[in-house]
């Protein structure tokens, strides 16, 4: 990513002070695959600092990591000894049984970890989380003030605020939303659906249950919001939505916490946008208590098909990658909402913190959630364009999901 070298340099400076030979690793092979945003670059660079004479540490950080990590861990021995993943993508590794339980390694070397960093699945610790993310409200305080509006805490308030902003001529399309067909649109539906109290599947089974009252209400709310968005909303991903915000066109939007810190630091952002930039927690919808958002964590895993020595070396290197000392550095501290011990939330992190505190539901770690997400992304566009009713669109989602769940053995 574009910050790669500065990030790596900062991380190295931080680790230089504590560069104990090999992080306690005597020998072994460590090979890390993961996404390439700055926070993960930092973790990677700190892990690489453990390399020594007989310790080989390499990283491969790329946006295509999800296509690579599974085949790269299926061989024996696995090419990658560790994959950095999120709660959505750990599922593919779990489904194919390529990562190992970490309980013994945590007992031996995991002293620095906080309890809530340990991801357990069925009683086994399978991953160590180091950062959190969530979508939450980002708004323009100056525009809301000019219109005499309170900061919305529900989507219903967001709608009425949008109406006022448009009527007063403060903003033509005041609502921003990453509604791009595919993954983004499905994610917005997930938020709204969970906020409406919906549940994607019948309890304890892979049977879909999105075609419900909550589903219809969620879609209707999305449609109502889209009336206040740029007419091209089905082509807007979070990059495009952010660009609209920076240009000063958008007053209210649901945006990723990981992108809040850099939202107005780009070159040439008008001063009123910079001054009016404000963050709040996620909103609720339909009178519910659960925020219409999902919580995400990023963490690391250790491959199953490697020797115990390499697994131990990997664990130690990754532990060094998330050392509590590294967040003392100011640049590193703003890169993410760290779950690491001693982290003090920066101003940009309040949204994600509020999300975690207000009982937002974590993105479901279900083996078949990915199939549902894909089906939602493909089938909801007809409704958003007004070609289908909400019930028809949701029936299509279920049909598409059932077909793929049968193909993959989750339904008979």
């Amino acid at each position: 990513m574009f910050l790669r070298n500065t990030v790596a340099a900062a991380a190295l400076v931080v680790s230089a002070g504590a560069a104990f030979a090999g992080c306690g690793i005597t020998d072994g092979r460590v090979s890390i695959v993961g996404n390439e945003f700055p926070a993960i670059q930092t973790v990677g660079a700190n892990a690489v600092a453990c390399a020594g004479d007989s310790v080989e540490v390499t990283t491969n950080l790329t946006a295509d990591h999800q296509s690579i990590n599974l085949p790269g861990m299926q061989g024996d021995p696995a090419e990658y000894t560790s994959a950095i993943i999120a709660n959505s993508s750990i599922v593919a590794l779990m489904n194919n049984d390529v990562i190992r339980p970490l309980d013994d390694l945590i007992a031996k070397h995991g002293g620095d970890l906080k309890k809530n960093q340990i991801i357990t699945i069925g009683g086994n610790a399978m991953a160590v989380a180091f950062m959190a993310n969530a979508q939450h409200l980002v708004y323009r305080s100056d525009l809301l003030e000019a219109a005499g509006l309170e900061v919305p805490t529900t989507y219903e308030e967001m709608l009425s605020a949008a109406k006022v902003l448009r009527e007063k001529g403060l903003s033509e399309n005041p609502v921003g939303g990453a509604y791009k067909a595919g993954w983004n649109l499905a994610q917005e539906f997930n938020n709204m659906f969970l906020g409406m109290g919906g549940s994607h599947f019948k309890a304890g089974s892979a049977e879909p249950s999105v075609n419900s009252e909550a589903g219809v209400k969620a879609l209707e709310m999305m449609k109502a919001l889209s009336e206040y968005m740029n007419p091209d909303f089905l082509t807007h991903d979070s990059n495009a939505t952010n660009a609209e915000y920076r240009a000063g066109n958008v007053a209210l939007m649901n945006m990723w916490g990981s992108r809040a810190a850099t939202l107005v630091t780009a070159e040439g952002v008008p001063q009123d946008v910079v001054d009016g930039f404000a963050i709040a927690g996620p909103m609720t919808v339909g009178g519910g208590d659960t925020p219409a958002s999902t919580l995400w964590w990023d963490g690391w895993t250790v491959a199953k098909n490697i020797s115990d020595e390499d697994a131990e070396a990997t664990f130690l290197a990754m532990m060094n990658g998330i050392r509590p000392e590294m967040i003392q550095d100011d640049d590193v501290a703003t890169q993410a909402v760290w779950l690491i011990d001693g982290y003090e939330p920066t101003p940009a992190a309040v949204g994600v913190y509020a999300a975690a505190q207000s009982g937002t539901i974590p993105y479901p770690m279900l083996p078949y959630m990915g199939l549902m997400h894909t089906a939602l992304g493909a089938e909801l566009t007809d409704f958003m364009q007004g070609n289908e009713t909400a019930e028809q669109a949701l029936a299509d989602v279920e049909a598409a999901y059932v077909a793929s769940a049968k193909e993959n053995g989750f339904l008979q």
Binding site: F2, N5, T62, A63, I68, P71, N239, E267
Partner: protein
């Protein structure tokens, strides 16, 4: 030709010129716009408020005090070390072109000089092979490449690209070889040459323009490839196109579009030089072959 052009009626001539101008604008305008915009900040390049900002550089002036900035180029080349990707691209392109031309000319020559029915079927099978979507091919490669420990290296990507482009190379070269009279190598064989000697000493020199043209198309395919290079190369061995894609960012993370724009403009420069240098060959190459099928 010049004398014939003068004989054209004026209206026809005007229509031709007008058509050419419209086409040239359509072909070159997006690129020139990008070239101009690459010296601006992102908010000007994607000038959401007023499209004329892209021309005047309003926000650029506010940030840098002047309407142009080299920040995109500095970021891509110095900060992100885009030159590494450039070197990798040239290694990949060089070896892809050499390898695919070597094995392609041999194969296409054989196809053109054999009258058996299986030749037709081999050509058809090659064509059907080309119908396979590259992304499916690549997802099939991954487990095997990891298993054999050859994933991530430049030679792996080179061989995969050569193989994927073979059907096109074979068809193109085959049509060139069909154009070269068979008497040429027959008489060389009568003089005591083996088939290979005839191919090497008699046919290849005549074929040179055709080989260059096919090489250029192979070069372009390798140069612009994304499907193979993005998934088969490791981060440190990345070529230009996946590197540019990485500049664009993802859903949850910020990218830097201006680095990508500057990189795209830079990536086009060597192609310009190449096309300017070889344009005569492209044309004479295609002229020599393909014409009579």
């Amino acid at each position: 030709m010049a004398s014939k052009a003068q004989r054209k009626p004026l209206t026809l001539q005007l229509a031709l010129v007008a058509f050419l101008i419209v086409w040239l604008i359509a072909a070159a305008f997006p690129f020139l716009w990008t070239l101009w915009g690459s010296f601006k900040v992102e908010l000007d390049f994607f000038s959401i408020n007023d499209w004329t900002n892209a021309l005047t550089g309003d926000r650029t002036e506010q940030t840098y005090g002047r309407p142009f900035t080299g920040a995109g180029y500095y970021g891509a080349w110095i900060q992100e070390e885009f030159w590494r990707a450039t070197i990798n691209t040239f290694i990949v392109c060089f070896f892809v072109v050499c390898t695919s031309l070597t094995i392609g000319t041999l194969g296409a020559y054989a196809l053109s000089r054999s009258g058996h029915n299986y030749v037709f079927w081999l050509l058809i099978i090659a064509l059907i092979f080309r119908a396979m979507p590259p992304i499916t091919l690549v997802s099939g490669y991954l487990p095997v490449f990891f298993d054999w420990n050859i994933w991530g290296y430049l030679p792996t990507a080179i061989i995969a690209l050569v193989a994927i482009n073979q059907p096109f190379t074979l068809w193109m070269l085959h049509s060139f070889f069909m154009k070269i009279p068979k008497d040429l190598d027959e008489s060389a064989k009568v003089d005591g040459c083996t088939q290979f000697q005839a191919f090497w000493h008699v046919i290849i020199p005549v074929m040179w323009p055709g080989v260059i043209t096919t090489g250029l198309f192979s070069f372009l395919l390798a140069y612009n490839d994304f499907a193979v290079t993005a998934l088969v190369l490791s981060e440190s061995n990345r070529t230009m196109i996946p590197e540019i894609a990485a500049f664009l960012g993802t859903t949850q993370t910020e990218g830097n579009v201006m680095f990508a724009v500057a990189a795209v403009v830079s990536a086009t420069v060597p192609l310009f030089i190449l096309v300017m240098f070889f344009q005569r060959q492209i044309v004479s190459g295609l002229t020599a072959g393909a014409v009579k099928g």
